[in-house]
C-alpha cells in the first residue's frame, strides 16, 4: 500500500508517497518532475528511461521505487555533478563531456533517446575511459534509436573519451571544435 518512501536522487533526499511497486520512472517523471528519464517501452527494451543507480545504468521503467531505497539515483539532470564528483573536479561543468561531444558532432535528430544514450555512455566512460569502437558498440547495444543516430553517437563517445584523456594528462578539459567535413559535391 501507499506509504512514505525516502529516496536519494541527484544527491537530494526526497520523500515520496507512492505504492512501493511503482516503477521508479513514474516517480522521477511525476513526483520529482524530472525530464531526463522518459517513457519509451516500459519493458526495459529500449533505454529511454535509463538512470544511474550507484553509478551503474539501470532501466527505471522496471525498477520498483522501493528497490532504490538506501541507494543513490543519478538522472541526466544530475549527471554533470556526478561526473564532477567522480573526477574530483573543483567545479561542476555545465555538461558531461559526452553531452558536449554530442553537440559538437550534431548527433541528435529527434533526440528522445538521448537520455539513455548519455547515461549509458557516461557509465561506459567511467569504467572504460578509452573504449575501442567495438566496446562502444557493445556497451551501447541495448539502446535503440529510431532516427539512426548511431554512427554519430559512436563518434561523440570517442570524442568525449579523447577530451577526458586530455584532461587526465593535465591539460584543461578542452572539447575539440566541430569538424566541418564539407561533403558537398559540385554538380
Amino acid at each position: 500500500m501507499t506509504g512514505e518512501i525516502k529516496i536519494r536522487v541527484n544527491e537530494q533526499m526526497h520523500s515520496i508517497a507512492a505504492d512501493p511497486d511503482t516503477p521508479l520512472l513514474y516517480v522521477l517523471m511525476n513526483d520529482l518532475q524530472l525530464q531526463g528519464p522518459r517513457f519509451g517501452c516500459g519493458l526495459a527494451q529500449c533505454g529511454s528511461c535509463s538512470v544511474l543507480l550507484n553509478g551503474a545504468e539501470i532501466r527505471s521503467c522496471v525498477t520498483p521505487v522501493s528497490a532504490v531505497v538506501g541507494k543513490s539515483v543519478t538522472t541526466l539532470e544530475g549527471l554533470p555533478a556526478w561526473y564532477a564528483r567522480q573526477r574530483k573536479l573543483a567545479n561542476v561543468p555545465v555538461l558531461h563531456p559526452v553531452q558536449q561531444a554530442l553537440i559538437d558532432e550534431q548527433a541528435v535528430q529527434c533526440g528522445y533517446c538521448f537520455n539513455g544514450m548519455i547515461i549509458q555512455a557516461a557509465d561506459l566512460l567511467s569504467k572504460t575511459p578509452q573504449p575501442t569502437e567495438a566496446q562502444i558498440r557493445s556497451a551501447m547495444n541495448g539502446h535503440l534509436c529510431r532516427c539512426g543516430s548511431y554512427p554519430r553517437v559512436i563518434k561523440a563517445i570517442q570524442r568525449a573519451s579523447h577530451a577526458m584523456k586530455t584532461a587526465m594528462d593535465g591539460a584543461p578539459e578542452v572539447i575539440l571544435a566541430q569538424e566541418t567535413q564539407a561533403r558537398e559535391v559540385a554538380p
Binding site: I16, Q35, V108, C113, F114, L144, R152, Q178, R183, P187
Partner: protein, 754 residues
C-alpha cells in the same frame, strides 16, 4: 504528493497561459524557460482561433524592440532541423544573424496554415512564403528607416538589423529594426512583390549554422510532448485488444467488468461504444488499471496473416489505373536481346516511434484544448471538432514535438483518444500510449507486391519497362473514432504518393516503352495503412533496381556503367557518380556471378537509384552474407542526394545518415507480423530494429545546387539504398532475394532454392 525536495537543480516550474488552460512545463533555469515565456508572449497574440490571414505580413513575422524577430512557421520540427533552416532563410532576407531570429511551436491560434508537414516539404513548400514575407518586411523596414534617417533607400545598408546610411558613421546615421517597429504590428498587406535576394548575395543560406534545438535536447531541458502536464488532470490509458484487428471489421467489447479495478485507488473506466479507457490520479494507477481491467473482445478472424498477405492481395479484385503509358512495351520486348522479369514482396512496416505518442486534452462544453504531436494542426483540429461535437474554431490544437515519427504514426489517434476521454471524464487528461498500443495500432506502411519485366537491346540500352504494383491505400479513419463513434472505415483517394511511383520505377533511365499500372487493393480487412517515411518507395526500388542489375549482367556490363549508359538527366547522373566515386566503385571490379566465392561468409556491393516524389537519391551498399546462418550484415552505405538548393547541407547530411541507417533496419529486420485476428509484433523484441552492433558505416553526400529550387531531403535516399542492398545481395551470392526484410530464414530459403 508529499514534500518534494526543493532541489537546487530544479528551481523553476514554468506556468504559462495558453488557450485558457495553464500548461505546466518544468525545466532547469535558462533557455527553455525563456523560450516558454516567449511562447507565453506569443500566446497573447493568438487569442482568437486561427488560421491568421496569410495575406498579412504580421501573420508571418514580428520584429521586437530588442532587435530580434519571431518567425511564424506552419511546419513542425521533427528533429530534421527544418525549423533552423527556415530561420536561416528568414534571417538571410531580413539581414539578421541567427541569434536574432526564433520561432514558436505550431498552434491553431497562432501560426499560419501551410498544410501538413508531409513529403519532406518543409523547405520546398514552406520557404517561398517565409522568404518573400521576410523580404517584404525588410523592404517596409527600409522605407521606415529612409524616412527616419532622411536618406534614400538606395543608400541604406543593413547588417544584423542595424540600418546605416552608406558611407556615413555615427549614431545619428543609424537605426535598428527594433527601434523602427519595436513589437508593433506592421499592419501591411503581404503582396509577395518584394524582390528576394539573389543567390550571389547569400551569407547564411547554403552555410551550416548549428541546429537550435540540440543543446536543450542534450542537456535534458527540451520539453517534449511527453513532459507536459495540465493542472487538475488525470492520467489516462486506452484499453484495446493487444494488436490491431482488421481495418473495417473492428473489435467489439464482449464483456467488461469494471469491478476488476476496484482495488486501484481513484481509478475508473470511461467508455463510449467500443472505446474503452481508464483514468486515475497517479500515472502508475492508470497503467495498472489498464493492465488489470477484465475485458474480452469479439474479433473477427478475417486478416490474411503476414504469411498469406501477398497471395491475398494478388487475388483481390483491384481498382486498376495506368499511371504511365509510353510506347509499346509488348512490341519492344518481343525482339529484345535481353529480358529480365521478377515478382517481389515488401512487408508492412511500422513507424514505431521511439517514444510512443501521447496527448493532453481539456474538453469543456464549449471549447477544447488538445496538445499533441500532429504533423498538421489544422487538419487535426477539424477532425477533433467533428468527434467532440464542437465547431473547429472552438478547438485549439497545439503541437509539441514527441519522438521521431517518420510519417503518420498514432499521433492523431492518441489526440482523438485523449479528447474523447477528457470529454467522458469531465477533466483534463494526459494520455500516454503504451508500447503495445503504438506498435500494435499503428497505421503501417502498406505491404506491396511488384511484378516487373524489362528489356535491353544488344548495346545495353534499356528499351522496355513494365511495373505492376499491388497495395492498399492509406486508411482515412483513426481507431479512436471507429471504436467510439462507429465511424465507417474509409480509404484516402489515390494520390501520387499512394501509387506506383514513376520516379522510382524506371523514371531515372531513358526508356522509350514504359507501362506502369497501379492495382489498388481494397483496404478493408487488411491492416491500417498510412505513409511511412519514403512510402512504398523501398518496395519499388527493391524490385526495380534488381531488375536493372539483371539486364546489366545479361549485357555483360558493370552495374554502374550500365546505369550511366541509360541516363541523360544530370541530376540522376550527379548522385550516381557521387556514390560511385566515394565508394571507389570503378577501382575495384567484381568477379561475375559465375565465379563467386564459395566461402561461408561472402561479400557484395550494389548500386541503386531512387527517390520519393522530388529530388534524386543514389546509394552504394556493401554487405556481408553468412551462407550458413543466413545472417546479413550491411558494412558500409554511401548515400547522395540532389535536392536543389541545400539551405543547410549539414542537416541534410544528418538526414541522409539517418535514412541510410533506417533503410538498413528496414531491409534487414523490420516486418509487422499478424495472425487472422491481431497484429503480433508489439514491442522491440517482436519488431526488432537495427542496433549499434549491426550499424553500418555511413557516408552522406549532398549535391549542392545553389541556383535551383529546394526540394525534399528527408526520405529520398532510402529507396536508392534499398535497391542497392538487394543488388549487393545478388552480387555476394548470385541469388535474387524476392522479399524483404533479409532475415536469416528468408536468406536461407532463397539460397536453398537457388
Amino acid at each position: 504528493m508529499n514534500q518534494i525536495g526543493s532541489s537546487a537543480l530544479f528551481p523553476r516550474r514554468e506556468f504559462l497561459k495558453a488557450g485558457g488552460a495553464l500548461i505546466v512545463g518544468f525545466s532547469s533555469a535558462g533557455a527553455v524557460g525563456d523560450a516558454l515565456f516567449a511562447q507565453a508572449a506569443a500566446a497573447a497574440r493568438g487569442a482568437a482561433a486561427g488560421p491568421p490571414d496569410p495575406k498579412q505580413i504580421d501573420t508571418w513575422l514580428a520584429v521586437h524592440s530588442d532587435n530580434t524577430a519571431t518567425v511564424y512557421v506552419g511546419y513542425v520540427e521533427l528533429g530534421q532541423g527544418s525549423t533552423t533552416s527556415l530561420l536561416q532563410i528568414s534571417a538571410e532576407e531580413l539581414d539578421l544573424d541567427m541569434s536574432q531570429v526564433s520561432t514558436v511551436r505550431l498552434d491553431t491560434n497562432l501560426t499560419p496554415n501551410q498544410g501538413g508537414t508531409y513529403s519532406s516539404s518543409s523547405i520546398a513548400r514552406g520557404s517561398p512564403a517565409i522568404r518573400t514575407a521576410a523580404a517584404e518586411a525588410r523592404q517596409a523596414l527600409l522605407q521606415m528607416a529612409a524616412q527616419k534617417l532622411g536618406a534614400p533607400i538606395e543608400r541604406l545598408v543593413v547588417s544584423k538589423g542595424v540600418v546605416t546610411v552608406g558611407g556615413m558613421g555615427g549614431e545619428s546615421s543609424s537605426v535598428t529594426y527594433g527601434e523602427l517597429v519595436g513589437d508593433k504590428p506592421f499592419n501591411l498587406a503581404f503582396t509577395g512583390s518584394a524582390p528576394v535576394k539573389p543567390v550571389s548575395d547569400y551569407k547564411l543560406v547554403g552555410t551550416r549554422p548549428l541546429r537550435n534545438d540540440i543543446p536543450e535536447k542534450v542537456s535534458g531541458e527540451y520539453i517534449y510532448l511527453q513532459h507536459l502536464r495540465l493542472p487538475g488532470m488525470l492520467h489516462a490509458r486506452v484499453v484495446r485488444p493487444r494488436g490491431q484487428t482488421a481495418y473495417g471489421s473492428g473489435a467489439k467489447v464482449a464483456s467488461l467488468d469494471e469491478s476488476s479495478i476496484a482495488h486501484i485507488p481513484n481509478a475508473r473506466v470511461v467508455r463510449k461504444g467500443d472505446f474503452v479507457g481508464v483514468v486515475a490520479e497517479r500515472e502508475w494507477d492508470a497503467v495498472r488499471a489498464a493492465r488489470d481491467l477484465k475485458i474480452t473482445w469479439d474479433i473477427p478472424p478475417v486478416l490474411p496473416t503476414s504469411e498469406g498477405v501477398y497471395d491475398a492481395m494478388r487475388a483481390e479484385k483491384t481498382g486498376d489505373r495506368v499511371v504511365l503509358q509510353r510506347g509499346d512495351v509488348d512490341a519492344a520486348v518481343s525482339g529484345a536481346a535481353h529480358l529480365a522479369s521478377g515478382h517481389y514482396h515488401g512487408p508492412y512496416q511500422a513507424h514505431a516511434p521511439f517514444g510512443p505518442n501521447g496527448a493532453l486534452a481539456d474538453v469543456k462544453s464549449d471549447s477544447a484544448l488538445v496538445i499533441c504531436s500532429t504533423q498538421d494542426v489544422y487538419a487535426t483540429r477539424n477532425t477533433l471538432a467533428g468527434i467532440l461535437g464542437l465547431k473547429p474554431q472552438q478547438v485549439r490544437v497545439q503541437y509539441y514535438e514527441g519522438s521521431g515519427t517518420y510519417g503518420h504514426s498514432c499521433y492523431d489517434d492518441v489526440a482523438q483518444a485523449a479528447a474523447i476521454i477528457s470529454q467522458l471524464a469531465g477533466k483534463p487528461v494526459r494520455l500516454q500510449f503504451m508500447r503495445w498500443d503504438e506498435h500494435g495500432w499503428d497505421l503501417y506502411g502498406p505491404a506491396h507486391v511488384g511484378e516487373l519485366r524489362a528489356a535491353a537491346d544488344a548495346n545495353g540500352k534499356i528499351i522496355a519497362y513494365q511495373y505492376d504494383g499491388w497495395h492498399h491505400n492509406w486508411s482515412a479513419v483513426e481507431t479512436s473514432a471507429q471504436l467510439a463513434l462507429g465511424t465507417p472505415a474509409a480509404e484516402w483517394r489515390d494520390g501520387a504518393a499512394q501509387m506506383v511511383n514513376p520516379s522510382d520505377c524506371g523514371g531515372m533511365y531513358d526508356i522509350s516503352n514504359v507501362r506502369l499500372v497501379n492495382h489498388h487493393v481494397p483496404g478493408m480487412n487488411y491492416l491500417r495503412g498510412a505513409w511511412l517515411r519514403s512510402p512504398l518507395d523501398l518496395s519499388f526500388s527493391f524490385a526495380s533496381e534488381q531488375t536493372i542489375d539483371d539486364l546489366a549482367r545479361q549485357a555483360k556490363m558493370d552495374a554502374y556503367e550500365f546505369r550511366r549508359r541509360n541516363i541523360t538527366n544530370e541530376h540522376w547522373m550527379g548522385v550516381l557518380d557521387a556514390v560511385a566515386k566515394a565508394s571507389k566503385w570503378s577501382d575495384t571490379p567484381r568477379p561475375p556471378a559465375s565465379k563467386l566465392s564459395s566461402a561461408k561468409i561472402v561479400t557484395g556491393r550494389g548500386i541503386g537509384l531512387g527517390t520519393h516524389l522530388t529530388s534524386y537519391g543514389g546509394a552504394v551498399v556493401e554487405i556481408e552474407v553468412n551462407k550458413e546462418t543466413g545472417k546479413v550484415r550491411i558494412r558500409r552505405m554511401y548515400g547522395a542526394i540532389d535536392a536543389g538548393l541545400a539551405v543547410n547541407p549539414a542537416f541534410i547530411e544528418n538526414q541522409i545518415s539517418g535514412q541510410l541507417v533506417q533503410t538498413a533496419s528496414r531491409m534487414l529486420l523490420e516486418e509487422v507480423t499478424f495472425s487472422k485476428t491481431n497484429v503480433t509484433s508489439l514491442d522491440w523484441n517482436t519488431y526488432p530494429i537495427l542496433r549499434f552492433e549491426e550499424c553500418p558505416e555511413v557516408f552522406p553526400m549532398v549535391v549542392q545546387r545553389l541556383d535551383q529550387k529546394s526540394t525534399g531531403a528527408g526520405e529520398e535516399v532510402m529507396a536508392a539504398a534499398a535497391g542497392a542492398t538487394a543488388c549487393a545481395f545478388y552480387d555476394a551470392t548470385g541469388v535474387h532475394i524476392t522479399e524483404f526484410p533479409l532475415t536469416p530464414k528468408r536468406v536461407l530459403a532463397a539460397l536453398s532454392r537457388a
